[in-house]
């Protein structure tokens, strides 16, 4: 077990290093100059140069990379070009909002996707299963921004039930009213992301459940006189959950930075929105920082996923 974890961590470190390196250079090779956006053209060339120096943009890309790595080792993600605040501070302000959205979406998707997936597998080929399949297909293929605008139009504009954007109504209220206000703002972005994600959780659960229900050991369980719902809960679900856990892990990892469109449409103050804003402002350090957080969360979620699967399936531990 300890060997398995050590190996996983070493691999994770390597992946992290490669991904931040790629991120660094991709951002640096964007075909525009951030200084142009920050500096008033009326400023003199000396001022421009001073600013370039301040941000370290006068050095070669190789030198910048070394500085970047050094700073990273000290836990310093640099300073935002735009707000002049430390990047870590900027990210830490946004991260809780993204995590809030993420947990709402993941818990809802699992709570809805798994039972319906199991139901669908149990009633395979029947009308209810076919109906669920159609809904899943629509859910998987729907264009997320379209869905976001549809919800916005319906619930915020037409019925005027829910706020159009942001995470709370300024100025923030106190206590329980603040919580309710935030949850109200979270409904539409959560619903959008939920629709996109529940479909894949449901589909993975259904398909792996169908495979598992055909397994010989399920017949063995029935031959012992175990009742159907017990067979499903005790014998099938544990085996069938493995693909679902993998997708959920990947989904959670990528959603930390992946909800760019949804967060932008609903002006949700999370990491996705931050990435969008930083791209527009060519704010290298913030972009870089966001991608580091994203890479880190994908890697951490992968490790957690692997550990959960190894815990469920006893065959995996030995293969480490």
């Amino acid at each position: 077990m300890a060997r398995y974890i050590t190996k996983r961590l070493l691999k994770a470190f390597l992946i992290f290093f490669v991904s931040i390196t790629i991120t660094f250079f991709i951002i640096r090779f964007m075909p525009s100059n951030p200084v142009d956006l920050l500096i008033d053209p009326k400023m003199g060339p000396e001022v421009q140069e001073a600013m370039m120096e301040e941000f370290g943009l006068d050095k070669t890309k190789g030198e910048q990379y070394i500085i970047f790595l050094k700073q990273l080792l000290q836990g310093n993600l640099g300073t935002s070009f735009k707000s002049r605040e430390p990047v870590s501070q900027v990210i830490m302000q946004k991260l809780p909002w993204t995590l809030l959205l993420l947990f709402i979406v993941v818990i809802l998707s699992l709570a809805v996707g798994i039972p319906i997936g199991v139901y669908s597998a149990k009633h395979r080929g029947k009308f209810s299963d076919k109906l669920i399949n159609i809904v899943v297909m629509v859910g998987i293929s729907v264009f997320v921004p379209f869905l976001a605008f549809l919800f916005l139009y319906l619930f915020s504009y037409y019925f005027k039930l829910l706020p159009t954007g942001g995470a709370y109504t300024p100025p923030p209220a106190k206590g329980i009213r603040y919580v309710i206000d935030v949850l109200k703002h979270a409904i539409l972005p959560s619903l959008t992301l939920f629709t996109a994600n529940v479909a894949s959780i449901l589909m993975y659960t259904r398909n792996s459940m169908i495979d598992v229900l055909e397994e010989d050991y399920i017949r063995t369980a029935y031959s012992k006189g175990v009742k159907e719902n017990k067979v499903i809960k005790v014998h099938a679900l544990k085996n069938a959950m493995i693909p679902t856990i993998t997708v959920t892990g990947l989904m959670m990892g990528s959603m930390v930075g992946g909800a760019v469109m949804t967060e932008s449409i609903f002006s949700w103050p999370g990491i996705g929105r931050l990435i969008y804003d930083s791209v527009s402002a060519l704010d290298y350090p913030v972009l870089q920082g966001s991608f580091i957080i994203l890479a880190l969360s994908v890697i951490i979620m992968n490790i957690i996923t692997d550990l959960i699967i190894a815990w469920i399936d006893p065959r995996i531990k030995l293969e480490g």
Binding site: E215, G225, N239, P314
Partner: protein
């Protein structure tokens, strides 16, 4: 002697995608008496496994019952509801499956899986009692270090050990009937011999239905034999009578195809032709296209099971002396 299980003209089949109905098991009739070991033999695909699964109503979906009945101690199994079946499965009738590699759940410990039937059928039993029972059973089927093995998972067991686990699992509630569906087929020869030895030692307690394509196994373990071909019982009876005096051309062929010491150096006999698939079963005697003794008479109507000895029945026009038999005309 009372019958534990009685197949009465049981017919079963399935529907394909386009809704055409096919017959798989045609007019199966035989019984398993109390305390008797019955061997069911036949080639792959002749319906042996389907017959054994029918007893527990564990048939795959899409299979339809087309007629007849299966009686458990005189009560129709086909009429029983889900709950009654669950009560019988594992407690009165239990089953050992063909594939020890896949028939155990990879994510549960051996101890849990062997003890589960006790947990299901004796809800009042304490966990410590269940464990003691399981350990005793594991010991009985020859698993060394049951205390350690109890907490291990199937992948930590070899094929032969897994089959022993399956046997322990099937016997834990002392069933009245044990169905063993090709229990040794997936194992290598030495392990086969060990498992057979084990089955020989445990067989005394209740009845057994041993499904196999291995005549040697049947002769070692069974008191009675049912020979199946293409979903029909072609011959059945006392093991001695059938082995010494096989009547049906198919049984004769099967016996002749077993290599023996006398046949050393000679070419091994094979039955000509291949096993028909469900979709092209012959209308009359299903064996007639491959039968060396068949005549035109065999083609149209299926023969009936006819008594040819004290406990010896055969389904062949050659021995059918009832009125209307084509052979008599």
């Amino acid at each position: 002697m009372n019958n534990i299980i009685e197949f009465k003209n049981f017919r079963m089949g399935f529907k394909d995608e386009s809704g055409n109905e096919f017959n798989l098991l045609d007019d199966i009739s035989f019984e398993i008496k109390e305390g008797v070991a019955l061997g069911v033999v036949g080639e792959s695909g002749c319906g042996k496994s389907m017959t054994s699964l029918s007893v527990l109503k564990l048939l795959p979906s899409g299979v339809t019952i087309q007629g007849g009945d299966i009686l458990y101690k005189g009560d129709s199994i086909l009429d029983m509801n889900q709950e009654q079946m669950e009560d019988i499965r594992g407690k009165d009738i239990s089953m050992i499956f063909q594939e020890p590699m896949t028939a155990l759940n990879p994510v549960h410990t051996i101890g849990f899986q062997v003890g589960e039937a006790l947990k299901v059928h004796f809800p009042g039993m304490k966990n410590s009692e269940i464990k003691a029972n399981v350990l005793e059973q594991l010991e009985l089927v020859g698993i060394p270090n049951p205390e350690t093995r109890y907490y291990q998972y199937p992948h930590q067991f070899s094929g032969g050990m897994r089959q022993r686990v399956m046997i322990a699992m099937a016997l834990i509630c002392n069933p009245k009937l044990l169905i063993a569906d090709e229990p040794t087929t997936a194992l290598d020869v030495t392990i086969q011999a060990q498992v057979l030895e084990l089955m020989k030692n445990i067989k005394q307690k209740g009845s057994m239905m041993l499904v196999t394509h291995n005549l040697g196994v049947v002769s070692e373990l069974c008191d009675e034999i049912v020979v199946m071909y293409a979903g029909c019982v072609v011959e059945r009876g006392n093991i001695g009578e059938v082995f010494e005096n096989p009547k049906h051309p198919y049984t004769k062929g099967l016996m002749a195809a077993v290599p023996s010491l006398d046949s050393k150096g000679k070419e091994l006999y094979t039955i000509p032709g291949i096993v028909p698939t469900v979709k092209n079963f012959e209308k009359g005697c299903r064996f007639s296209p491959r039968c060396e003794e068949s005549s035109e008479a065999c083609k149209g109507i299926k023969p009936e099971l006819t008594r040819v000895g004290d406990n010896h029945f055969v389904e062949c026009w050659k021995y059918n002396n009832s009125e209307g038999s084509p052979c008599q005309k």
